[in-house]
């Protein structure tokens, strides 16, 4: 293929310069761009109002969904988490880096910013019902803070909740190459809701402790 292109371009009348350029291009192409190390998150820039979280353009509300807490008791997402602001994150305990980094950053910043779990609910919804037993979710969240709320439910319920937030897409993307279970796709951002259950801002992957330390007091002051 490459030889064909080279040969053809050299046959063009007066094509020497063109051929030279094509060859240069080919050399450049064949050696490949340095994209292998690209990272999708480089921290958040403060907006004009000082917030680090990204404002949502369209109105979204806390999804209407019935999930279960670690004891197996039913939790209505849209009624249980109104009255105080809420940070909602969809993840799974076998998640290697996005999930634990978000949760560790929030947990660390809560203490530093002096924001309590009475003032702000932090809710983790598992998107991996096959592997994430209630015990496993509880044990996982204890790595960050036991006061975080871990919820689980049928995959259809979780997918419907994601769709209500315009975060639809296949959760299960095929078998997990690590062996048991499924390969999971999930939103990379944390979603922030005010006390009325209106989603107002998101924090994409790349949010640092310092971003949360800046935003957590604002959430409590302005969204309660």
């Amino acid at each position: 293929m490459r030889a064909e292109r080279l040969t053809r371009s050299t046959h063009r009348p007066g094509g020497s310069t063109v051929a030279a350029l094509v060859l240069l291009g080919l050399v450049a192409l064949a050696c490949g761009p340095a994209s292998a190390t690209a990272i999708s998150a480089q921290g958040l820039e403060p907006g004009p109002d000082g917030w680090r979280g990204v404002p949502l353009e369209r109105e979204r509300t806390m999804p209407v969904a019935t999930l279960a807490d670690p004891d197996g008791d039913a939790v209505q997402l849209h009624t249980a988490f109104t009255g105080t602001p809420t940070l909602l994150f969809f993840g799974y305990t076998s998640c290697p880096d996005i999930c634990p980094i978000h949760l560790a950053a929030i947990a660390s910043a809560m203490g530093t910013a002096g924001v309590s779990f009475e003032e702000l609910d932090v809710v983790f919804v598992s998107v991996d019902p096959e592997r994430d037993t209630p015990e496993r979710i509880e044990e996982y969240l204890a790595n960050f803070d036991r006061r975080m709320v871990g919820l689980h439910g049928d995959l259809e319920v979780v997918e419907d909740a994601l769709a209500q937030l315009d975060l639809g897409g296949p959760v299960v993307e095929g078998p997990d190459p690590r062996g048991e279970g499924d390969l999971i796709g999930h939103p990379a951002q944390v979603i922030g809701f005010d006390a009325d259950g209106q989603a107002l801002r998101v924090w994409p992957f790349g949010a640092r402790r310092s971003d949360w330390i800046a935003d957590l007091p604002r959430i409590v002051e302005q969204w309660s």
């Binding site: 050299t10 190390t37 305990t93 290697p96 560790a104 796709g185 999930h186």
Partner: protein
């Protein structure tokens, strides 16, 4: 590289005339060009790998990840084909992909190490996932990992265990690194 490009230009300029003289010559020149392109891309040169010191995250939910970088300062491509350690059941080559605010993780058989480039393994991108790390992988401890390559000899480096969040924030602070 500049000398190589000049050479390439010279050959191509000559090719226009040669090609008109006959198909056999054109084919010969074509093959020469192909070889030149191939050599420019490092498939025939020699890789020269430099592996950084490694850092590992405090294990969580039965896994951990290693942060390190590999620079190929040579003129030949190579590939990372495996990582071994006594400190875990296995180490797998993974990549977290984030597109349109959705994250997924894919497993890779090997990671290309093109000549002249640095490849970094870190949170949120290419990463080396440790499956079932042993008890010795704890905050502040160190352990050894051995990287195996397609062409170069294996390299052993030392990994220091740190908090995952610290590893992540270092990589956020250093987007071009």
């Amino acid at each position: 590289m500049v000398a190589l490009l000049r050479k390439a230009l010279g050959i191509v300029v000559g090719t226009g005339a040669l090609a008109r003289r006959g198909p056999r010559l054109a084919v010969a020149v074509g093959l020469g060009l192909l070889a030149l392109v191939a050599s420019a891309c490092g498939t025939s040169g020699s890789p020269a790998l430099e592996v950084s010191a490694a850092q590992a995250a405090v294990p969580l939910a039965g896994s951990s990840q290693l942060v390190l970088s590999i620079t190929n300062a040579g003129d030949g491509d190579d590939a990372l084909v495996g990582v071994e350690t006594d400190a875990a059941l296995a180490i797998e080559l993974h990549e977290t992909r984030i597109a349109e605010d959705r994250a997924t993780m894919v497993s890779l058989d090997e990671v290309p190490l093109p000549a002249g480039q640095t490849v970094r393994f870190r949170p949120g991108g290419l990463h080396l996932m440790m499956i079932a790390p042993s008890d010795e992988v704890a905050l502040g401890t160190t352990f050894e990992v051995t990287l195996r390559f397609d062409r170069s000899d294996p390299v052993t480096t030392t990994a220091e265990v740190r908090e995952l969040l610290d590893l992540a924030e270092d990589s956020f602070d250093d987007p071009d690194a």
